[in-house]
Structure formats: C-alpha cells, structure tokens
C-alpha cells in the first residue's frame, strides 16, 4: 500500500515537471522550426509535418540580410562585449577589495550608493549620457558604449567581489605584509589568483548582460554598419510583411552565444546570479 502510494505521487511529480519543461520549451521549438523550414510549410502551424524540408537557407539570409546583415552585427557585438567585460572586472576587483579590507568613515554610505545604483533604470541616464558622449565625440563610437557599459556594470561587480573577498582568509595577506609587500603587490600576487572562480562568474554575467543589451546601444550607436546584433533584430522585421523564417534564424544566431556560454559555464553563471541577489 505504502509503496504504491509513493509510486503514484512520484509519477504525478514527474508528469508535472516534464510537462512544465515541454511548455517552456515549446516557443523555442516553434522558432527553431520556423528557422529551418520554408515559410509555406509553417504558415498553418509549425507543428504540422505534412511537408518537411529543412534547410539553412534562412540562416544564410539572416547572416547576409540586405538592410541589417546579422553577421556584421555579431562581430560588432563581440567588439563591444569583450572590452566591456574586462574593464569593469579589473576596476571593480580593486574597489571590491578596498571595501572588504579597509575601513574608513564613509564606507557604509558608499556601499548604500552601490546598492541604489543597481536599482535605477537605464532611462535615468539616457539623455545626459548622449550629451556627454556627444561632447566627448564618442557618440556612434564603440569606446563610448564600452565606457557606459563598464560604469553601469561596476556597481554589482564591486558588490559581488566585496562579498567574495570578505570570505578569503586574511592571515595570508597579513603574513605578506609582515614580509614587507605593498598593498598592490599583495592584491596582485596573492589575492587576485585566489579569486579566479569569482572572476569567472563576473565575466560570464557581465558578458551576457552586455551582449543582450539593447537600450544603451539603441541610444548611442546609429550608423547602419556599426549597429550591434540586438539592434538589427527589430530592423529585420519589415514594415508590412513579417518574414518569420529570417527573423527566427536571426534570433537563434543571436541567442546562440549566451546559450552556449550558459551551457558550458552554467556553474559560474548560477553562482554569480545567486551571489548578487541572495547575498546582495
């Protein structure tokens, strides 16, 4: 009796879990089908398989799209996302270490500021940031966008790194100090090598954040050949006719990068996300 009861509940739990997975995966499956099949086949639903002629035609069309070639956009996105990941990582590691190790009177206020910065919307900087970049001659220039992304990412990375640094044992650093090492030497030679797992989490999250960003690119980059990958998706939609085949293929190409990173570095991604929310 008991065994049967357990088996029944196990079956129900498994059924619920797997149907949830199915529901969540269905929209992605639809996009995949629209991408690999000619539009005529899916016009009455991508789930009908009366005809099935898969091809990579749509992917090639999206990559070399006449008005918004996605291939160029993906290259541009890498050009922005890589420096916009490395710069804040270095800058924030220094500051996060400072917060964790040194005490000074206004530290708690700065800390509160960091938390508040994490909450504000990008809309609150949009107009002035455009004017500042215009003043600096950095509108429609990747350097400007990289700087804004770096500054914007700093707050949560500092918080994350501070939390990480405060878990490291301080004894090793004190031993080095007794041996006469300077603050910077201690940081670079001893502390930084111990932080590699935390830096991996930061790199994964910040890269994905910049890669997926749309708003900052939208206000700062406008030359057709400079547009990032995310900016090209709405341009492919077309005014009167929505070509779902090409759009779906473009969507898959664009999301392939973050999905691959997530698949390979899932551990760091989840750890990073939980770190900046639960401990934050």
């Amino acid at each position: 009796m008991q065994a049967q009861k357990i088996r029944k509940s196990t079956i129900i739990i498994h059924a619920v879990a797997w149907s949830a997975a199915l529901i969540w995966i269905l929209p992605f499956l639809g996009v995949l089908m629209a991408a690999i099949r000619p539009f005529g086949e899916i016009v009455h639903g991508w789930w009908s398989f009366a005809e099935f002629n898969p091809s990579f035609q749509n992917f090639a069309e999206a990559w070399n799209h006449p008005t918004a070639p996605l291939g160029e956009g993906i290259g541009n996105s890498f050009l922005v996302a890589i420096p916009a990941t490395i710069i804040p990582m270095l800058v924030a590691s220094l500051a996060g270490y400072g917060f964790a190790r040194f005490s000074f009177p206004i530290r708690n206020y700065i800390f509160l500021t960091v938390v508040l910065i994490m909450a504000i919307p990008q809309q609150s900087i949009a107009v002035p940031i455009f004017q500042i970049m215009n003043f600096l001659g950095l509108v429609d220039n990747y350097i400007g966008l990289v700087l804004v992304h770096s500054a914007w990412g700093l707050a949560w990375i500092i918080l994350f790194m501070r939390n990480f640094f405060s878990t490291l044992p301080i004894e090793i650093e004190e031993a080095a100090k007794v041996d006469g090492a300077s603050q910077f030497k201690i940081f670079y030679k001893i502390v930084l090598p111990m932080t590699l797992p935390a830096l991996a989490s930061v790199a994964v999250l910040q890269f994905m954040w910049v890669w997926n960003d749309f708003f900052l690119a939208l206000i700062l980059i406008y030359s057709p050949e400079k547009l990032l990958a995310t900016q090209r998706i709405p341009l492919m939609r077309g005014q009167y006719f929505v070509d779902w085949g090409v759009l779906s293929a473009a969507s898959i190409l664009l999301m392939a990068v973050p999905v691959l990173i997530f698949a390979l570095l899932q551990k760091y991604y989840i750890r990073g996300m939980i770190g900046w929310t639960i401990k934050g």
Binding site: A95, A126, V127, L154, L254, T277
Partner: protein
C-alpha cells in the same frame, strides 16, 4: 620605518583602489542621473518651472488615462506597468516556487531546469520576438491551443489588438522570467537541513503543514529578494515591448520606459522625458529602499 611616514602612504595607496571605479561611476552614472533630475524641473524654453513639469507630464493620457480606466486599453503607461506587476509578480513567483519544489525530487531535473532557465539567458529582444511569434495567428502555438479548446474568439494575433496586446506581453514575460525565481528557490531549498523534514514527519505533520510551517518561513529571505528583483524588472521592462509591439496598437501596451524613450529620442522633448525617467527612478529606489530596510530589520 616610523609610523609618521607609514600612515599617509597607506592612505594614498588605499585610495588608489577606488579611484578608477569612482571616476567611471561618477562620470557615467551619478552625474547623468542627477542631470536628469535637474532638467526635469525646467521647461523646454529653459525656464525653471519646478514641480509643475511633474503635474503636467504625469497627468497626461500617455501616463494615466483616467477616462479609459473602466473602458479598456490604452489606459496609460503607468497603469500598464501596474497591471504588469499585478499579474506577472504572483504568477512568476508562484510557478518558480512550485517548479523548484517539484524538481527537487525528479530524475533529470537539471535538464528541465535548463529548459525553463533558457528564457533568462535569451536576449530580451529575442524573447519579445519569440513571444510575438508564439501569440501570432496561424503560426503561433497559443492560438492553436485556444482553437483546440474551443475559444475561437481568442484565436488571433494577440499583439495586434488593443485588448490583448498587453496580456500577450505579460504572459510571455512570465514565461521568460520564471527561471529566475525557480533557480533562486532551488538554491534556497538546498540550504534547508533534511532533519527538519524528518522531524516533522516523525511528529506526523502533513506535507502541506510541513510546507507552510517549515519550508515557507525559511524561504522568506529568498521570497523577498525575488519580489524585489522581479518588481525592478517589471518597472524597467523595455526590450520586449519595443520589439513585439512598439507600445502599440495605439499605445495599448506602452510602458514607462518606452514612453520615456519615445519622448526623448522620437519627440526630442528632453524635459518631459526627464520627468518620466526621474519618476521611474523614484519608483525603483522606493522598492529597493523599502525592501532593504525590511530585510535589515528582520
């Protein structure tokens, strides 16, 4: 080495740790935010009008459309954001919690979790496109489902009609965001010691009672975090709306973030845009400060 030379040198090297971060944040975050607040008090002519801008902009029909509140969309961007929170927050919170609990004892749970979490990894610009596709007539799976269940009147391109556009976006955003609360709850459940449940079982507690008396209270810090992060996300929602409906049709799915963008970069009315941006910022800060104080007090 005397103490006199040691202390200033240490202070200088100490401040060097902060200077690069400080420059970037002040120049590209703090100054622009304050500048936005500043220009929100001025008329386009350059005249100082103080809070009058706020009374003017926040009473516009694009923000709150009082006459249409009982008649249907568009009801104004602020109302749309509120509706978004009222539907999206409980749905994503609840489904994330249920999934996290169910997936605790399922074989292959990591595959299911990854499938659900895919929405969090996807660029929101793609997420918005996929949800529009999913709600499209003919090709979309939602309409096929309604057809199958006999709701023919709901079989249409949801994003093209004022009375369904916002709901399509909201339900689609639940689909995209549930992975967040699920992952956080999963992490939280893993920290609850197993003996709590064993003790409850020995005492003859029912599954529901155990959940209500043990699991839920212990998950409270996580619930608060998820609620805060989710409300912030809902207030800042932009990409999804931009790509799926552009706030349309006729403003029926417009939200504050998109309204601000249109005011600033379509109509070039920087002062009105600054009012909306400052108002949105105040809302996010209120949520954050409120939650932080609540958590600190606990």
């Amino acid at each position: 080495m005397t103490r006199g030379t040691e202390v200033p040198r240490r202070k200088i090297s100490l401040s060097l740790f902060f200077i690069p971060a400080l420059i970037l944040i002040v120049l590209f975050v703090i100054f622009p935010v304050l500048n936005t607040v500043y220009i929100s008090f001025f008329a386009p002519s350059g005249e100082f009008v103080g809070l009058n801008n706020y009374f003017d902009v926040l009473s516009r029909r694009e923000v709150v459309n009082v006459e249409r509140l009982s008649q249907g969309f568009p009801m104004g961007a602020l109302v749309h954001n509120v509706i978004w929170i009222l539907i999206h927050l409980p749905l994503s919170l609840f489904s994330g919690l249920v999934l996290a609990i169910f997936l605790g004892n399922v074989k292959g749970a990591s595959i299911v979790k990854s499938a659900i979490f895919l929405g969090m990894v996807t660029p929101m610009i793609v997420g918005g496109l996929i949800l529009r596709f999913t709600f499209e007539r003919g090709v979309g799976v939602v309409n096929a489902l309604f057809n199958l269940l006999g709701f023919e009147q709901l079989t249409r391109t949801w994003t093209a009609f004022p009375d369904t556009a916002l709901f399509a976006l909201i339900f689609g955003s639940v689909w995209l965001w549930t992975g967040f609360s699920m992952i956080l709850y999963s992490a939280g459940l893993a920290t609850i010691p197993k003996d709590y449940y064993e003790a409850a079982k020995i005492d003859g507690s029912t599954a529901f009672r155990t959940f209500y008396r043990i699991t839920l209270p212990l998950l409270k810090p996580i619930t608060l975090t998820v609620i805060t992060m989710t409300i912030l996300w809902e207030l800042k929602i932009f990409d999804i709306v931009f790509v799926a409906t552009l706030g349309g049709p006729g403003g029926a799915s417009n939200v504050l973030a998109l309204l601000m963008y249109n005011m600033a970069f379509r109509a070039f009315d920087f002062n009105s845009a600054a009012v909306v941006a400052t108002f949105l910022t105040l809302l996010t800060l209120l949520v954050t400060v409120g939650m932080t104080r609540y958590m600190v007090r606990k």
